[in-house]
C-alpha cells in the first residue's frame, strides 16, 4: 500500500514538474543569445565556467564552447599526449544515442592535433564486445581517420592498481594506465537516462577507465562513482546532449528512445556538467546520488548558482 501511494505521489510530482516546465521558463532569466555572448569571456576570478551551447551542429557547438574557455590551446599544449574518453559502451549505431557521437569525437581529435598534441588515444572499457562496439559506434573509423589511436580497453595488463586518495567506499581500484599517465584527459560522454543511477554523463562515464566495475555495483555504486574522481579529475569535460536517450537507458532499444535537444555542455568541472545534464533530463541534481556525493567530496560543484554559466544559442 505504502509503495503504491508513494508511486502515485512520485508520478504526480513528475507530471506536475513536466507540465510546469514550460511555465517556469517564462520566469527564467533571459538566455544569452549568440550576439550577446560577445561579452567578456575571460575566466571570471573565482567561479568555475560551465558553457552550455544549443541549437547548432556538434562540431560547431564544440568550437563555440571551447572559444568561451580560451580555446583548446588552454588545455592541450604542443607535444602532449592526450586521452579522449568517449562512451563507447554498446554495440549499436550512432543514431541510437547509446554512445558518444563520432562527429564530436572526430572534431575533438582534430582540435587536439591542431593544438600540437603529440598523440591522441581513444578507448573505453566497453560493456558489449569491444571490437564490435568500437566499430558500430562509428568512433573507431572517425578517430583513426583523423590520426588518433584506438586503444584496447579489455587488456587487463594495461590497467594499474591505484589507491583512491579521497575514497569513502572505494579505497583502491585498477585504472587504465592511459587515464593515469596521459598529459591531458578529455572526458566526452553522451547524456542518457540510466535505470540504476538515473542519468549517465561525465562521472558515470569514468567507470569506463576502471577494470572491475562489478565492485562498484555491489559496493554502493553512487559513492564509488564519486570516490573515483579523487584519483584524477578529467581536464576537460564535454557532454554530448545533442540527441540524448530519455528512456530505456543506458542501452536503449531504438532511436525513438532519444529526443533532439541539440545541446552541448562543457566545463573543467565534471560535477557541474552532470548537474546541468540532470536538469536537461528533468532530474534535480540531488536525485542523482553520485552528483551530491561528489560535491561533498569537494571534487566539483553541483550547485549551478555557484557557477558562471554561459548560455549560448547558436541560432
Amino acid at each position: 500500500m505504502k509503495t503504491r501511494r508513494a508511486f502515485i505521489k512520485t508520478s504526480l510530482a513528475a507530471g506536475a514538474a513536466l507540465s510546469f516546465h514550460g511555465l517556469e521558463r517564462l520566469f527564467a532569466e533571459q538566455t544569452r543569445s549568440e550576439t550577446s555572448a560577445t561579452q567578456p569571456s575571460g575566466p571570471s576570478a573565482a567561479q568555475t565556467l560551465l558553457v552550455a551551447v544549443r541549437d547548432g551542429e556538434r562540431a560547431v557547438m564544440l568550437n563555440r564552447a571551447l572559444a568561451e574557455l580560451g580555446g583548446i590551446q588552454a588545455f592541450v599544449k604542443p607535444g602532449q599526449r592526450v586521452l579522449i574518453k568517449p562512451n563507447i559502451g554498446w554495440d549499436v549505431p550512432p543514431e541510437r544515442g547509446a554512445n558518444t557521437h563520432p562527429e564530436l569525437v572526430a572534431r575533438l581529435v582534430e582540435l587536439c592535433f591542431e593544438a600540437g598534441a603529440k598523440s591522441v588515444s581513444v578507448f573505453d572499457n566497453t560493456v558489449d564486445e569491444w571490437r564490435r562496439a568500437y566499430e558500430s559506434s562509428g568512433i573507431e573509423a572517425a578517430a583513426k581517420q583523423r590520426g588518433a589511436t584506438m586503444v584496447n580497453g579489455k587488456d587487463e595488463s594495461l590497467y594499474r592498481n591505484v589507491t583512491v586518495p579521497g575514497g569513502v567506499t572505494l579505497k583502491e581500484t585498477q585504472v587504465h594506465r592511459l587515464y593515469l599517465d596521459s598529459d591531458v584527459v578529455i572526458n566526452v560522454p553522451v547524456l542518457k537516462t540510466h535505470g540504476g543511477t538515473r542519468i549517465t554523463a561525465c562521472l558515470k562515464n569514468l567507470m569506463g577507465v576502471v577494470w572491475d566495475r562489478r565492485f562498484f555495483h555491489r559496493t554502493d555504486l553512487h559513492q564509488c562513482i564519486a570516490d573515483f574522481l579523487t584519483v584524477r579529475k578529467p581536464d576537460l569535460n564535454i557532454l554530448d546532449a545533442y540527441h540524448p536517450m530519455v528512456r530505456n537507458g543506458p542501452r536503449g532499444r531504438s532511436p525513438e528512445d532519444c529526443v533532439q535537444m541539440r545541446t552541448l555542455l562543457v566545463s573543467t568541472d565534471p560535477v557541474a556538467v552532470d548537474a546541468a545534464g540532470a536538469k536537461l533530463l528533468n532530474f534535480e541534481p540531488d536525485q542523482v546520488a553520485h552528483i551530491p556525493a561528489a560535491a561533498k567530496l569537494g571534487v566539483g560543484i553541483a550547485d549551478l548558482d555557484q557557477l558562471d554559466v554561459r548560455r549560448i544559442r547558436m541560432s
Binding site: T10, N152, G195, R247, N248, R251, D257
Partner: protein, 513 residues
C-alpha cells in the same frame, strides 16, 4: 589445407569471414552429411569425397582431413628429429575398425550427430584446435602485442586466453596427447584402426578405379618403402599393398629404387598380369552404395529440406511432451538457431567451429551439463560472457545445421531461456544501494527498474520480453549465487516485442538551468 583449417580454428581475433569457415568445414565428410540430414545444405562435399574414393582411393585422408594432415605433420617432425626406422607391416585390426564404424553409425541413427562426433576426424581436430591450439595462438599473439605496439603496427591487440582448467579442456588436451602419441609411434595408426570415416572410405577404396600396387616382378624386398610408409599397409612378404589402409601419401612411389610401385587403373594393368586381382575390381556393393547416396542427394533436391525437417521435428516433439514446458534450471543453454537441446544435440558434432567464431566467447565446450554422451558439445556459459544481441556468427559458421543461420531480426526474438530474478539476493534489497547492472545490460528491456524505498530503484522482470541472452546474469555482481540467472528452454521459443510509445520527455525549448 591443413594450415587453412588450423587458421580457421585458432582464429584469435575472430576475423575469418564466417562464410569461409563454413564452406571449408562443409568440404568435410561428416559435417557435409549431417548438414544434409539437418536440411541445412546438400551433401555435395561428401558426394565428391565418395566419388573421389571410388576413383582413386582415400584422397580425403590424404589431402582434406585436418586430423590426417596434423598426423602427417607430427610424422614429418618425428622423422626430422630421429628416423623412425622401418615400421613393419601391420595386420589390419578389422574387428576394431568395423566395430567403431558400426557403433558410430548405429549411434547416429539413434541419437544423431553425437555418436559420430566422438571419432569423426574433422570434429576431433576442430575440438582440439578450438581449445588447445587456439589458446596457444592467443598467448603467442599476446606476447607479441607489446612488440607490435612499439614497432607501430596498428591493430595488433591483446585478447583473453581461452584455456580454463575444466574437465572439458583437460579431456581435450588428453585427446590431443593421444592422437599425437599415436602419430609419433605409428604414423597414421588412428586413421587405419579407429577412424570410422577412414574405415568406410577404405572399404570403398578397395574398389577404386585407380589403385596403388606393388609389382612383384620389380620388388627386391629392400624395404626402403617401409621407411616411408606412414600407414604400415605394405606387406612385403606377400608383396601387396592393403589399399583400404593406404592414405595416398605416395612416398613409396618416390623412394622405391626399382620403381616397383605403380598408381594405375585397375583392370587394365593388373588383370592381365595377375588374374587373381580381378576379384577386387569395383564390386556391386560399393557401386550401389554410391548410387544410394546419390539418389538420396537427388531426393533431397526434389523434396527440399522439409522432408527431413518434418521427420526430425516430429521426433523432437515426441520427446518434448515428456518435459514440462518452461525454463529448467539445470538445462544447459544452446545458442539461438539451435531450436533447442534435442535438435542441437542430434546435429552437433562438437567440432568447436562456433566456439572459435564467437566474439564474446560465451560459447564453450560443455563438461557434463548435457550428460556424458554429449560431452564437449558447446553451451553458453553466462558466468563467462553473454550472447551479443547484434551477432549471430555461430549460426553462420555451423557446418552441420545444428545451429541454423537465423536472420538477425529473428535471432533477436529467439528465446533460448528466461531470466529468473531473486530479489532477496539483489544488492538493492540487501544493501540499500543502487546497482541495476542487470537492467543496464538488458538489450530488450526485459529487465527494467522500478521505484523502491528511499529513492532507490530495484530490478523488475518482464519475462515475455526476455530472450535469455544472459547479459543480466553475466553482469550481476552478487556472489556466490547471482540474483538474476537464466534458465534454459528445452525448445526455444519466441519473445514478444515491446511496443514503443512516443518518448515521455519533450525537448525543452530553452536551457532548463
Amino acid at each position: 589445407m591443413g594450415l587453412t583449417f588450423f587458421l580457421v580454428f585458432t582464429d584469435a581475433w575472430e576475423r575469418i569471414p564466417s562464410q569461409v569457415a563454413q564452406t571449408l568445414a562443409r568440404t568435410q565428410f561428416v559435417p557435409s552429411i549431417v548438414a544434409h540430414v539437418a536440411g541445412a545444405g546438400l551433401a555435395i562435399g561428401a558426394g565428391f569425397i565418395l566419388l573421389a574414393t571410388l576413383l582413386w582411393g582415400r584422397v580425403y585422408c590424404s589431402v582434406l582431413c585436418p586430423l590426417g594432415l596434423y598426423q602427417d605433420f607430427i610424422w614429418w617432425l618425428r622423422k626430422k628429429v630421429r628416423s623412425a626406422g622401418r615400421l613393419p607391416f601391420m595386420k589390419e585390426v578389422r574387428a576394431l575398425r568395423w566395430s567403431v564404424l558400426v557403433v558410430s553409425l548405429a549411434g547416429t541413427l539413434v541419437s544423431g550427430g553425437m555418436a559420430l562426433a566422438w571419432f569423426d576426424p574433422y570434429s576431433l581436430f576442430g575440438r582440439i584446435s578450438s581449445t588447445v591450439f587456439r589458446d596457444a595462438v592467443i598467448r603467442l599473439s599476446n606476447s607479441l602485442a607489446p612488440l607490435m605496439a612499439q614497432t607501430g603496427l596498428p591493430g595488433w591487440y591483446h585478447t583473453e586466453p581461452v584455456w580454463q582448467w575444466t574437465a572439458a579442456t583437460v579431456c581435450t588436451l588428453i585427446l590431443l596427447l593421444l592422437v599425437t602419441a599415436l602419430a609419433v609411434w605409428r604414423g597414421r595408426l588412428y586413421c587405419n584402426t579407429v577412424c570410422p570415416v577412414g574405415t568406410l572410405l577404405g572399404w570403398l577404396a578397395n574398389g577404386a578405379r585407380w589403385q596403388l600396387r606393388l609389382q612383384s616382378t620389380r620388388c627386391h624386398k629392400c624395404a626402403r618403402c617401409l621407411e616411408a610408409c606412414r600407414a604400415q599397409c605394405i606387406d612385403l612378404r606377400k608383396q601387396k599393398v592393403d589399399f583400404s589402409r593406404c592414405v595416398l601419401c605416395l612416398d613409396c612411389l618416390a623412394i622405391c629404387p626399382e620403381q616397383g610401385f605403380q598408381f594405375a587403373r585397375v583392370g587394365t594393368l593388373f588383370r592381365s598380369a595377375r588374374g587373381t586381382e580381378s576379384e577386387t575390381i569395383p564390386n556391386p556393393g560399393r557401386r550401389s552404395f554410391l548410387w544410394t547416396f546419390l539418389s538420396g542427394l537427388g531426393a533431397r533436391i526434389v523434396t527440399g529440406p522439409s522432408l527431413f525437417a518434418e521427420a526430425s521435428g516430429s521426433k523432437e516433439s515426441d520427446t518434448a511432451d515428456l518435459v514440462a514446458a518452461g525454463p529448467i534450471a539445470s538445462l544447459p543453454i544452446t545458442p539461438p538457431g539451435s531450436k533447442g537441446v534435442h535438435h542441437f544435440l542430434r546435429h552437433c558434432t562438437a567440432c568447436g567451429l562456433c566456439v572459435t567464431a564467437c566474439p564474446t566467447r560465451v560459447l564453450e565446450p560443455a563438461g557434463l551439463q548435457f550428460g556424458l554422451i554429449a560431452f564437449l558439445r558447446p553451451r553458453m556459459n553466462y558466468h563467462r560472457s553473454y550472447c551479443n544481441f547484434d551477432c549471430h556468427r555461430c549460426g553462420k559458421v555451423c557446418p552441420t545445421g545444428a545451429i541454423h543461420a537465423l536472420p538477425l531480426a529473428e535471432k533477436q526474438l529467439t528465446k533460448v531461456g528466461e531470466a529468473i530474478l531473486k530479489l532477496d539476493l539483489c544488492v538493492v534489497v540487501r544493501q540499500g544501494t543502487d546497482c541495476a547492472a542487470c537492467s543496464e545490460h538488458c538489450p530488450t528491456q526485459a529487465v527494467t527498474t522500478k521505484p523502491y524505498r528511499d529513492q532507490l530503484r530495484v530490478p523488475e522482470l518482464h519475462p515475455s520480453l526476455c530472450i535469455g541472452c544472459g547479459a543480466c546474469e553475466y553482469a550481476c555482481p552478487v556472489r556466490p549465487e547471482r540474483a538474476i540467472t537464466v534458465q534454459g528452454f528445452v525448445h526455444h521459443g519466441k519473445a514478444e516485442r515491446r511496443v514503443d510509445t512516443p518518448p515521455p520527455v519533450r525537448p525543452p525549448a530553452d536551457f532548463p538551468f
